[in-house]
């Protein structure tokens, strides 16, 4: 029986080549893109889920600060996790991870690498998390404070194929670390990505030498704390207990509130479960579903439309004894065959598209057909779409009344025509929404690019000077003599994205209990003129000795604390104290998603480790070469690496950029698939109306009359789609824009452009068929009746 179904299905496929090709192309494109996006979505959801105890591990974070500066701090103080484990039975284990910025270079024999993926961690790192140890002991990963565990590829990098255990890596030419273990490379879908892990105990000893006792320090918030909890622990109660412990040691911090973020959520959520990527994932999930629906609609529309042409066959089958269920099965098999073919093509297409998709999305997905997750996505998608596409046509076809069908009375089935129109409108609503999305994202991105940053970042590159910094004045003078070097200045960090913040602030007129977080940056005296920044009041640094006790605030800082006549007032942040000598006009030192934050600038020449060189577009290579030569002169073998501010600035919006590009493609594909369906429907309409067209032409209708007659119906549907899509797209894109502190307005022309685009594309698609029908010889078509 089933063989017979397949045989019939295959013949139908071959016989109606035009429709089969339209269906297969549409389905293949839809399935391939849909599945690719779903791979991406699945990858996002899979982050950090590979740890055996993932369900019981949480990252400890906290609310800190008051008023406008209250925010979530991902890093905690050092002792809280340890105390929690000692005092609370529900805390089974704790892992503290600290960023290791103590060393700039690592050497083994003649191999030197700069490395910023180095962490300090408690030994429990290897027992709480499931990063497999390849050699060494997971329960005792470090032999002593000077041990290090490295990843497999790091071992490869330093030691080639030699056994890494026992080898000594020298940090900054002064500190030895002996390799005590090798861990597998961190999976791509791990939020934690390190190359080397050193014992936290080293860090504690190291800091103790600088008179900072981390084991009893409640001021430094710079280690990540992960807690492994007993199953069923109440997070709310635990957070209260943690607060009590904290308060007992540091009674001033009444505004602290601990949060426990599940390990598996930390990739997509903030600790208060607000968005940290989940929205994008949801948007992509929706886009995948939309594209799949569009592809399914094509199939449903074409097969129901064509069912009229098949009514005779179906009726005869009924009359010679086919039961409804048997016909139903026949159509399901027919659909399944088509889907199977498309699925095979789609898999091939995915195989070829994967590298491109990875490049566009910045992921490293692998199309690994031995991975059951891959099959889960594929099988679910295909069976879901198959189900959605097969049921309705199968019901419709198998429920024909044979006598009516034989007499040709079925073609006037109004409800069914309506149904198809609704589906076409749905397709175009989706397509137009995607086009509007593309336009809005692109406009917002170009707005961000063109918005005045408040400083000039053009043709400027920057790099850490290291030992060259000790000879700054001579180096600067030397550089300025070089062709292509226009100006040189320095600060302690990159201006594009300032990192240093402090909540230890004080100033004249501070209200009791008021807390205030500021960004801190130390700059050279010529920093403002280098970047063409403007002062709102007062003056900048001059390089005089007493400038070290002077501060410059930005307007945002002054406004936020409501400081009147700031010049001459006393201000303190962290250990930097002094009088305010100037107020700087605001400039952007973070993503436009955020409002400009308060910032304080101070003058500490010994901290100024980061050099900026402004060059010209043409002479940039010369300037870089000059900088590199000088750098080598003072830093020897240490690798020289620089970034242009423009590049770093672009990096800030890499996510949005990728989103925009992907959206562009998705919209194109969606409208492409929709048009394929339209092409099929137009061809069908032309076929059904051949006789009518013939008669009209005999009566004197021209090609243009007939073309317009045939196109009008479809273009009308696209118009309806525009009307429906406009408010939905407007709402969705306003939501998307809300994440930006600085954003464009959604303008009416965006919808106009999207709508016109859809209409023009739809019209071109249809008129192709319409013209073909219109220029056909009417005598021929009439004779064939």
């Amino acid at each position: 029986m089933i063989r017979n179904y397949i045989k019939t299905a295959w013949r139908n496929l071959i016989k109606n080549k035009f429709y089969s090709i339209i269906n297969i192309v549409g389905l293949t494109a839809g399935l391939a893109i849909g599945i690719l996006i779903l791979f991406w979505v699945q990858d996002e959801f899979s982050f950090d889920g590979f740890h055996k105890d993932a369900k019981n591990i949480y990252r400890l974070e906290l609310w800190g600060g008051t008023g406008a500066s209250r925010q979530i701090w991902q890093a905690t103080v050092y002792p809280i996790g340890v105390l929690a484990k000692q005092q609370l039975p529900e805390v089974e284990d704790v892992v503290r991870i600290g960023y290791n910025g103590d060393f700039a270079s690592y050497r083994y024999h003649d191999k030197i690498f700069a490395n910023d993926r180095v962490a300090y961690a408690d030994p429990s790192f290897f027992s709480v998390f499931s990063f497999p140890i390849i050699s060494g002991n997971a329960n005792k990963p470090f032999n002593d404070d000077n041990s290090v565990v490295i990843t497999k590829s790091t071992a490869q990098k330093y030691f080639g194929n030699d056994n890494p255990i026992g080898k000594v890596i020298i940090a900054d030419n002064k500190q030895n670390f002996t390799v005590s273990g090798v861990v597998a490379d961190f999976p791509e879908n791990s939020s934690m990505q390190y190359d080397m892990i050193m014992p936290m105990s080293f860090n504690i000893k190291h800091m103790l030498a600088q008179k900072i006792d981390l084991s009893d320090n409640f001021d430094e918030y710079d280690c990540f704390t992960y807690l492994k909890l007993k199953p069923g622990t109440s997070l709310k109660a635990l957070s209260a207990k943690l607060f009590n412990i904290h308060i007992k040691h540091h009674s001033a911090d009444t505004d602290v509130a601990y949060l426990l973020l599940p390990l598996t959520k930390m990739h997509l959520y903030n600790a208060d479960l607000t968005d940290r990527g989940i929205t994008t994932v949801r948007v992509f999930l929706i886009v995948a579903i939309l594209i799949l629906i569009i592809a399914c609609i094509n199939y449903v529309n074409l097969s129901t439309a064509r069912s009229m042409l098949r009514s005779k066959e179906i009726s005869m089958r009924k009359i010679i004894g086919a039961a409804k269920s048997q016909l139903f099965m026949q159509f399901i098999v027919e659909t399944a065959l088509l889907f199977l073919l498309s699925a095979v093509f789609a898999l091939v297409l995915i195989h070829f598209l994967m590298p491109v998709f990875n490049q566009l999305s910045g992921k490293q997905l692998i199309f690994d057909i031995t991975d059951y997750h891959v099959w889960m996505v594929i099988v679910l998608t295909i069976s879901g779409t198959l189900l959605a596409s097969s049921i309705y046509p199968a019901i419709l076809l198998s429920s024909f009344e044979p006598l009516k069908a034989l007499k040709g009375k079925i073609s006037s089935n109004i409800g069914d025509v309506m149904f198809r129109k609704i589906l076409v409108v749905t397709q175009f609503v989706f397509s137009i929404m995607l086009i509007v999305g593309t336009i809005v994202i692109t406009s917002q991105l170009s707005y961000i690019r063109s918005r005045q940053l408040g400083y000039d970042k053009s043709h400027t590159f920057s790099f850490p000077m290291r030992d060259m910094g000790n000879h700054y004045d001579a180096v600067r003078a030397e550089l300025l003599k070089q062709p292509g070097v226009l100006d040189v200045t320095r600060s302690n960090q990159n201006i594009i994205q300032m990192n240093g913040i402090s909540g230890e602030t004080d100033w004249d007129g501070k209200a009791p209990g008021q807390t205030f977080i500021v960004h801190l940056m130390t700059i050279d005296k010529d920093f403002l003129s280098f970047f063409k920044m403007k002062m709102a009041a007062g003056k900048g640094f001059t390089g005089a000795v007493n400038d070290t006790s002077h501060l410059i605030l930005n307007e945002a800082a002054v406004n936020q604390i409501g400081l009147k006549d700031p010049i001459g007032k006393r201000f303190q942040a962290w250990h930097i104290k002094g009088t305010i000598i100037g107020v700087m006009k605001d400039f952007h030192f973070a993503s436009m998603r955020e409002k400009i934050s308060p910032a304080v600038f101070y003058y500490y020449p010994s901290y100024l480790g980061n050099m900026y060189i402004r060059t010209t577009g043409r002479d940039a290579p010369k300037a870089i070469q000059a900088a590199q030569t000088l750098f080598k002169q003072y830093n020897g073998e240490f690798p020289f690496s620089y970034t242009f501010l423009d590049e770093k600035f672009n990096d800030l919006y890499k996510g949005e950029q990728q989103e925009g590009t992907l959206f562009n493609y998705f919209a194109t594909i969606a409208i492409g698939i929709s048009c394929l369906g339209l092409l099929g429907l137009a061809a069908y309409t032309a076929q059904v109306r051949t006789r009518e067209i013939g008669i009209r032409k005999v009566l004197g209708a021209g090609v243009s009359n007939v073309t317009i007659m045939l196109s009008y119906d479809f273009v009308k549907l696209v118009l309806i789609a525009i009307i429906i899509a406009t408010p939905i797209a407007w709402y969705a894109m306003s939501k998307w824009l809300q994440d930006f502190a600085y954003r464009i307005n959604i303008e009416w022309w965006m919808f106009l452009v999207a709508g016109l685009l859809a209409i023009v594309i739809a019209f071109i698609t249809i008129s192709f068929q319409a013209i073909k029908a219109a220029i056909a010889n009417p005598i021929k078509s009439l004779r064939s009746e």
């Binding site: 017979n4 019939t8 016989k15 005779k312 066959e313 005869m316 004894g321 048997q326």
Partner: protein, 225 residues
């Protein structure tokens, strides 16, 4: 074999009922060969379709092979139909996508015959109708007479007790028509298949054992030959 009692069929046109079959009663014995005649629009096809359970009467009683058809559910009716009835059409109504062989085989598939059984039965039928050489051709490649032969073969393949034929020779020339009539006669005589045919031709009607004349949905006359 079957009995119609006070069968009527009407279509509602505007406010009035348009009777296509008007209070017809008819008894058919097993082994009969009935020809139904009458002007176009007199209700012949409708009557045949009601007998064949493709159409339902608006009122009346319908008995077939001991079953009370008007009380049966759709499923039971179609089971009854599958078991006893074969249909032949004026326009042949073969399935264009299937070969001659497959057209004949299809009813067996729907009745869940095993593949080996099907092969034997279809081969037998092809043989009997002398169309073995045409078995892999598609309907479009056959003449009208050949197509109707296939149509009859298909109607007979599952061994029906009652063959219903609606103007089976209507699209054929007189020589082809005569061949079909000879075939019907043989089926009726030798295989004992009960036949009811609709025809416009006096000559073809006389192959039957009884001729019924319809006019405006009523039996105008009935004569035993």
């Amino acid at each position: 074999m079957l009995s119609l009692q006070h069968i009527s069929k009407f279509y509602q046109v505007g406010g009035t009922r348009n009777f296509v079959i008007n209070d017809i009663s008819l008894e058919v014995e097993a082994g009969e060969f009935i020809s139904i005649m009458g002007p176009s629009g007199s209700g012949k096809s409708t009557l045949l379709n009601i007998i064949g359970m493709l159409d339902e009467p608006s009122s009346g009683y319908h008995y077939f092979a001991g079953e009370t058809v008007h009380q049966l559910k759709d499923k039971q009716r179609s089971a009854l139909y599958k078991k006893y009835i074969g249909f032949v059409f004026q326009a042949y109504h073969l399935i264009d996508e299937l070969t001659v062989y497959e057209n004949i085989e299809t009813p067996l598939i729907y009745q869940d015959f095993k593949s080996t059984e099907r092969k034997a039965m279809v081969a037998d039928m092809l043989d009997r109708f002398q169309i073995v050489g045409k078995k892999d051709l598609f309907p479009a490649q056959l003449s009208g007479g050949q197509q109707q032969l296939v149509g009859i073969a298909r109607a007979l393949i599952a061994g029906p007790k009652l063959l219903l034929a609606d103007e089976p020779t209507g699209n054929l020339n007189s020589k082809q028509g005569e061949e079909i009539m000879q075939l019907f006669k043989k089926l009726n005589k030798e295989d004992g298949v009960t036949i009811i045919q609709v025809t416009h031709s006096e000559k073809n009607a006389e192959y039957g054992s009884r001729i019924i004349n319809l006019l405006d949905g009523r039996i105008e006359s009935s004569k035993q030959l």
